[in-house]
Structures are given as C-alpha cells and as structure tokens.
C-alpha cells in the first residue's frame, strides 16, 4: 500500500512540476513569439535557445521531482534527491538568464522604450537556493544519523 501511496504522491508533484516548469513557460513563450505587434521585444532574440533550455531543465526537474516526492518521508533517498532537485532548480532558473529570457525590452509606440532586467531577481533567488542547499545537506546528515529511529517510527505508522 505504501508503494502505491508514494507513487501517487510522486505523480501529483511531477504533474505540478511539469505544469510550472514546462507547460506554462513554454505556452507563454510560444504565444509571445508567435503574436505580432506586441509592444515589447527580447533583448537577445533567441527563441530556440530559450525554448530548448526551458524544456531540457524542466524535464530534468520534473524527473527528479518524481523520485523525490515518491520517496518515503525522511528517508536518505529523499534527502539525496531533494538536494539534486535544488541543484537542478538552480540550473533551470539560470537557464532563463543565459538563454536571454531575463531581459525584455518594452517599446512604447511614439514614446520610447525601457528594458526590464530580471537578472538581479534571479541572483537574489540564487542566494535563497544556497540556503536551501545548506538545509538539504543538513537533512541528509540528520536522516543518516537518525536512520533507525526514523525507520522504526515509519513502520509503526
């Protein structure tokens, strides 16, 4: 019964990840690239690059999300995959920056333009991710040291 429950949880969270890291960004960018006459343009127009790296890291993030969320609570397996997940999330977020999706130039007709640069916001997020990485490493140590106790408690449930 535990295995089925774990896998259902894994599939639910993978669905969430697929939605937020693949479906929504890809739909949004495809629409933005296809609609003409919008009052903004990308600073570095590289549609293929943006779509490719979002899909690539989105797939990795979703795959690792399944492994993480289908693992038993407080297991070493979960700890390790949670750490990998955070690292993949960093890469996913960074893919927005290096593919050029973080700099958008808005052109206001008959007025001028301004550039929206979300690179700094991504860098702040990186700081948050660093703290998350530290926390996940601590979790792995915690789960390893208290392995027997955690397992006993889990078997009792």
């Amino acid at each position: 019964m535990g295995a089925v429950k774990n896998m259902v949880r894994g599939f639910i969270f993978t669905g969430v990840y697929v939605l937020f890291t693949l479906a929504i960004p890809l739909t949004l960018f495809t629409l933005l690239f296809s609609i003409e006459g919008l009052p903004f343009e990308w600073e570095q127009i590289d549609q293929h690059n943006i779509l490719f790296w979002l899909t690539a890291f989105g797939l990795l993030a979703s795959g690792f999300a399944f492994f993480k969320y289908s693992s038993p609570k407080q297991s070493i397996r979960k700890g390790i995959f949670a750490l990998i997940q955070v690292i993949i999330n960093c890469l996913y977020l960074w893919s927005y920056k290096f593919s050029g999706a973080s700099e958008i130039k808005f052109i206001i007709i008959d007025y001028g333009f301004f550039t929206l640069d979300i690179s700094q916001m991504i860098l702040i997020y990186m700081g948050v991710y660093f703290l998350t990485i530290v926390l996940k490493i601590y979790d792995i140590f915690d789960y390893t040291i208290n392995r027997e106790k955690i397992r006993e408690n889990r078997m009792k449930e």
């Binding site: 295995a3 490719f52 399944f66 289908s70 038993p72 960074w94």
Partner: protein, 133 residues
C-alpha cells in the same frame, strides 16, 4: 522615480539597502560562488548536451521508471521485498527444524531455585550452595 515620489516606499527602500549593504560581505562571496558553479555546469550542458532533447527525455523516463521500481522494492513502511524474502526463508528453515518463536533456548537452562544462577546438571548451586532436589 516612483521611490522618490512616495515617502513610505523611500523609507522601505532605504531600510532594504541598509540591510543588503550590511550583509554584502557575507552575501557577495556566496553569490559569486553560486554563479561560478552554475555557469560552469550550464556551460558543460551547452557544450556537450545542447544539440538535442533526447538525452533529457531519456533521463526523465529513466528517473520515473527507476523510482517506480525502487518504490516497489523499498516502499518505506515495511521491510523491502528483498529482505522480506530473506525473512520468509528463515521462517521456513525454523519450521523445518522445529524451532518456534515461543521456544527460547535460554528458558531451557536449569536454574537455581534460590538465586536463579544457571546450575546445569549439578545438584548443588555453585553460587549459593543450595541443593537442587
């Protein structure tokens, strides 16, 4: 511009700047380190795995399938099926040689009536000297 027109927002902006400047010596090296390793990793992906999506699709499928297999073997709320088979074999072996869980070899040892010390076959307890008849 907007921060200069609204006083409340200007105060918040000043406080945030003060906090960030105070944390700068700590945050900057962390940020630089993060940017370094992420840039190196993404550059590796760009150079070696940037041609097609097939690698990422294969990794995704492998992760999902392996997670399903691992969960079937080690679901977490009971001993894994590999270990369960081992326990089953041990129980079968115990059944064959006639050992049950209720029987305990320690219970079969003859003990002194007075002090409880194991006496074996002797009639006098070696510890307290009481006769065992």
């Amino acid at each position: 511009m907007i921060f200069q027109t609204m006083e409340f927002l200007e105060i918040i902006a000043n406080i945030t700047t003060a906090i960030l400047l105070f944390l700068k010596p700590l945050v900057t090296p962390i940020g630089e380190w993060m940017v370094d390793w992420i840039t190196t990793t993404t550059q590796f992906f760009k150079d070696n795995l940037g041609a097609s999506l097939s690698f990422y699709i294969v990794v995704f499928i492998v992760l999902v399938v392996s997670a399903i297999v691992v969960n079937i073997i080690w679901p977490g709320d009971r001993p894994g099926s590999i270990f369960s088979k081992g326990i089953g074999k041990l129980e079968e072996f115990e059944d064959k040689i006639g050992i049950s869980d209720d029987e305990d070899i320690v219970d079969e040892i003859k003990r002194c009536k007075d002090c409880g010390n194991p006496v074996g076959d002797s009639e006098i307890c070696p510890l307290c000297g009481a006769r065992q008849i």
